[in-house]
């Protein structure tokens, strides 16, 4: 439509120039500076460190356990991340995850439904609860903190009323099978599922219109609205997605435990909160919204799992372990900061 316009003189800013500039220029340099690369480095460092310094870290048994807890951690991180995108947060993901897996457990145990159908309904419930969060936030204009704080109680409390806090523990064998299988002797299939889901999310944010809408709304809701993007739809979808991902994490945990248990994420599901935030934040997500990294969140979650596992194996004084956990985390982020400084100064020359 703009052909025929006199091209701006003195500027040959053509299509190809913008294309090349955007795609290739300094791509490697930018990756070296990114928090994803830093995390990758840290994960490798931690992995190598524990591999060499502890007995048992390298054993297939331990690697299997590690991959299984990393799988759940990754999903919890991704769940929170999908709300952080929109500039909000969701305190109720733990409650949603528990509710979803309890529903699936009930369907399998009390209604004798086959496992896949029950899981599907459980995930649908997760999506629905997340959707409800999103709708309340969008329609009332309240901050997601307050809304999800309240719905955390409502969801969890509702589940407690309906189940009187009883677990569903005679689930069919084929349900918990994925948590028991070993790939290559040392990897849980759950990790593969988590990575697949992460890939789908990366696809969403990079290669779909709705993913871009979510990012735009998170970064600046007013600007997005004025560009013809429906902010309320994007926010609702973010929350619904968080609900589904939390449900997947919940179902995975109950596969691992062989039972759907109200307490598996702590009281009100609050045990999930800190790991949920830590993954994305380490991965470079901005808590004010609009900037996330799927790879970063995955690596962040993996780093936490590795550090946790390694420290348990290191035999550091029982009660002091948390102290070392904190120190290691501090050390990790400091190292990362130093790396940025080194690469940044190298970049400037």
């Amino acid at each position: 439509m703009l052909e025929g316009l006199p091209p701006a003189q003195g500027s040959d800013a053509t299509e190809t120039q913008y294309e090349n500039a955007g795609r290739l220029g300094g791509k490697l340099g930018r990756f070296l500076l990114s928090s994803e690369f830093g995390l990758l480095l840290l994960v490798v460092l931690a992995f190598a460190g524990f591999w060499l310094s502890t007995r048992g870290f390298s054993s297939p048994f331990n690697q299997f356990g590690l991959s299984r807890s990393a799988a759940v951690n990754i999903l919890i991180s991704l769940s929170m991340m999908s709300v952080i995108v929109s500039g909000g947060l969701d305190l109720s993901i733990g409650a949603i995850g528990v509710c979803a897996s309890i529903l699936a457990g009930w369907l399998m145990e009390a209604c004798r439904w086959p496992a896949p159908a029950s899981v599907a309904v459980g995930l649908a419930l997760g999506g629905l609860l997340g959707f409800a969060n999103g709708q309340i936030i969008v329609r009332t204009g309240m901050h997601s903190f307050v809304v999800t704080l309240a719905t955390m109680s409502v969801f969890f409390g509702g589940m407690i009323i309906l189940t009187t806090a009883k677990p569903f523990d005679s689930l069919p064998d084929d349900f918990s099978l994925p948590a028991q299988q070993h790939l290559f002797g040392a990897v849980s299939p759950l990790l593969v599922y988590s990575v697949l889901i992460a890939c789908m999310m990366a696809y969403l944010y990079r290669l779909t219109a709705i993913g871009r809408d979510m990012l735009a709304v998170g970064a600046n809701a007013r600007a997005a609205l004025l560009s013809g993007i429906s902010a309320s739809r994007a926010v609702t979808l973010c929350h619904a997605m968080a609900g589904i991902l939390a449900a997947v994490a919940g179902v995975m945990l109950s596969m691992r435990n062989g039972a759907a248990i109200p307490s598996m994420a702590g009281n009100l599901g609050q045990d999930w909160l800190l790991p949920a935030f830590l993954g994305p934040v380490l991965g470079g997500a901005s808590l004010s919204g609009g900037r996330v990294s799927v790879l970063g969140a995955v690596l962040g979650a993996v780093l936490i799992s590795v550090i946790n596992n390694g420290l348990l194996l290191l035999h550091v004084g029982a009660f002091w372990l948390q102290f070392f956990l904190g120190m290691l985390l501090l050390g990790a982020v400091m190292i990362d900061k130093a790396r940025m400084r080194v690469f940044a100064s190298g970049d400037r020359r």
Binding site: N62, V72, N257, M264, N309, L312
Partner: protein
């Protein structure tokens, strides 16, 4: 043989209940010539953390486990995995939900203990009146058992005792303070008895009764927390239901040593049945009132000795 037995005694999370477990483990390792009997505690009270800890302990070479189940159903899988690899597990201080691969459950019978406590309370109240029940997290399956136990004792009075209110989810200091104080302030006059079946509610309620100086209300607590013992001494607390944590870890380590040296669990032993399991061994519970304060520890040591003396022939088949 026993020497190669490395026992890990795994708690549910940091909690004063487990205070005597490290010593009990050391004593057992010495007395029964075990390779080790080490106390291990997850960093926080969370099932996932406990599972991670257990897995890493297995990687570290521990080969026999006393586990306080983070969850009766949720801990079955991790226990099953240990047993499948030839590591015996005994559920300690709490049970796994049947069917499980644990050898047996060695614990306080919580429902029974709550029932006995409520009975004592009713007795102290002269067989009639109204009571309130303070207990822990609803998501803790023990909580439902305790609620049942108290309800049963109340039901047996045929209406002369009424359970006015059950307050749950207060196993943390701040909510316990807020809710128990609010209850005593607004409804304290309407009850004559309180039973607390969780540790923090028990201490908070004892403190609150002391604060308002009310000796009219009878109260039964849990465990031998100094606050509760003081309360008993000064007359603010009627009595407390003791458990036997030391004996649990000590005898549990002993049993694992036996299992590792070839003994088998008897199928026809005099197992007790609880709602959770058909393989239950009571680790002992005792009511301590004002008159027992001086010698309650001897009482528990006696219980431990008794259980240990007959343990092998009652529950195990040894070559």
């Amino acid at each position: 043989d026993a020497n190669s037995t490395k026992v890990a005694i795994v708690a549910g999370g940091p909690h004063p209940y487990f205070a005597s477990w490290p010593q009990a483990g050391k004593d057992a390792a010495r007395d029964f010539h075990l390779g080790a009997a080490d106390y291990k505690v997850p960093q926080s009270w969370s099932l996932s953390q406990q599972n991670d800890l257990i897995e890493s302990l297995a990687s570290q070479g521990y080969n026999a486990f006393l586990v306080f189940p983070g969850d009766p159903a949720g801990s079955r899988n991790v226990v099953g995995e240990l047993v499948d690899q030839g590591m015996p597990v005994i559920a300690l201080a709490g049970c796994l939900q049947d069917p499980s691969k644990a050898a047996f459950c060695f614990a306080t019978d919580t429902e029974h203990s709550a029932y006995l406590g409520a009975k004592e309370l009713i007795k102290a109240m002269g067989g009639k009146g109204r009571i309130a029940h303070f207990t822990g997290f609803l998501t803790d399956p023990g909580t439902a058992l305790r609620i049942n136990g108290v309800k049963q004792a109340v039901a047996e009075t045929n209406g002369s005792v009424e359970l006015v209110q059950t307050i749950a989810d207060i196993d943390a200091p701040e909510p316990a303070q807020d809710k128990i104080n609010a209850f005593l302030a607004t409804q304290g006059k309407q009850v004559e008895g309180i039973i607390a079946t969780a540790w923090i509610p028990a201490t908070v309620a004892a403190t609150a009764l002391r604060k308002i100086g009310d000796k009219r209300i009878h109260m039964i607590g849990l465990n031998d927390d100094p606050i509760i013992l003081e309360g008993i001494k000064d007359g603010y607390v009627t009595g407390t239901m003791l458990q036997n944590p030391y004996g649990q870890a000590y005898i549990g380590s002993y049993a694992l040593g036996k299992l590792m040296s070839g003994c088998k669990v008897k199928t026809d032993a005099p197992w007790l049945k609880t709602p959770q399991t058909t393989h239950f061994v009571d680790s002992g519970t005792a009511y301590v009132g004002a008159s027992d304060l001086a010698n309650y520890q001897d009482k528990m040591q006696g219980v431990t000795k008794d259980i240990l003396a007959s343990f092998q022939q009652k529950y195990l088949d040894c070559p």
